[in-house]
């Protein structure tokens, strides 16, 4: 990763954490060859779209590939007996 891209990753992480449309601290960001690649998981489709939007707003000169997924919940599952 070149020097400029390293700073951009830091700035985008900060934006994704602090922007109230996203508020996510665990989005994985890779920037290479003029493209931002975003991976991770968020609770809703709206938040997934907002991750891409914030990235595009911050660095409109780069392509954004948004591979964020939406967390799907399963049923609660079997109880665990703790300490027995």
């Amino acid at each position: 990763m070149n020097q400029e891209y390293q700073y951009l990753v830091g700035k985008l992480q900060e934006a994704l954490a602090c922007d109230a449309r996203v508020g996510a601290l665990d989005i994985k960001i890779t920037i290479a060859h003029g493209r931002v690649h975003l991976t991770g998981q968020v609770p809703t489709e709206e938040r997934r779209a907002n991750v891409g939007l914030v990235a595009h707003e911050l660095m409109p000169q780069l392509d954004v590939r948004n591979d964020i997924t939406v967390l799907e919940l399963s049923e609660s599952g079997k109880p665990e007996a703790v300490g027995d």
Binding site: G23, P43, T44, L73, S76, A81, V82
Partner: protein
């Protein structure tokens, strides 16, 4: 036997309406109490607090919560707390509550906790005042947690945290951020005072099951990790079961 449902990091926002409530409305079939391990909202705004209480309102079991770092982002954690308390949720920060559930008493000591890291890679009260303040916050939360657990004269004692008390349940998270995910002082407090179960969230990419060096079971119930609306843990399989109805007595220690 008591059945404890627990989940953290639900990150409720204006866009998550009704996502959890359908699962929680039948909680009394599976659990006697619901414990929420922080990051209940995404940024702690008033609108998110309103969305949160619509998810939690009038559930069929008592609800006990601690806040997480996300609930502080809009600098109004008391707003989130008061919104929850207005609908009967018990919110703990350096406090305890005793519940009577299924014929047993269960004491819960709740604290958000804080970071600092774990043995071999942790911060110290050394150098700049900001660094000393950081670790001091963790130490104070841990001392209060220990005192609160010791104060509980109940059949079972549970610690409810947001930050992790052990690094076992961080396995899967990048080592570089462990110091921001939890602190050994919290685990030390658990081992010193003793308890039956410790629950936390915060570490979305960690591991559900861990243990303190002294043998206390620790469970990371961050929803992005467990991928369920709640996990259920039972305590005291040999003791009599009962209904989900509960009443509570709140206590606050000022240590």
């Amino acid at each position: 036997m008591i059945r404890i449902a627990a989940v953290g990091d639900i990150h409720v926002g204006e866009d998550t309406h009704g996502r959890l409530r359908p699962h929680w409305l039948t909680l009394d079939q599976h659990a006697d109490v619901l414990l929420l391990a922080g990051d209940l909202t995404n940024v702690g705004s008033r609108k998110e607090a309103d969305a949160l209480i619509e998810e939690v309102r009038d559930l069929p079991v008592p609800v006990v919560a601690v806040l997480g770092n996300h609930d502080y982002h809009c600098d109004n954690p008391l707003g989130v707390r008061h919104a929850l308390e207005a609908i009967g949720v018990i919110v703990l920060e350096g406090e305890t509550v005793t519940l009577e559930l299924a014929g047993c008493t269960v004491g819960i000591a709740g604290s958000k906790g804080f970071g600092g890291g774990f043995a071999g890679a942790c911060g110290h009260k050394f150098g700049e005042p900001e660094m000393k303040d950081f670790i001091r916050v963790t130490e104070e939360a841990s001392h209060r947690l220990e005192a609160n657990l010791r104060s509980l004269q109940t059949d079972y004692r549970v610690a409810l945290l947001h930050y992790a008390p052990v690094k076992d349940t961080l396995a899967g998270e990048r080592l570089e951020i462990h110091a921001f995910l939890g602190a050994y002082q919290l685990g030390e407090a658990l081992d010193s005072a003793g308890c039956d179960l410790a629950l936390h969230g915060h570490a979305h990419h960690g591991t559900e099951k861990g243990m303190t060096p002294g043998g206390i079971p620790v469970r990371n119930v961050a929803m992005p990790l467990i991928k369920r609306p709640y996990a259920v843990y039972t305590l005291g399989g040999a003791k009599a079961g009962g209904s989900g109805a509960g009443r509570h007595q709140r206590e606050t220690l000022t240590t």
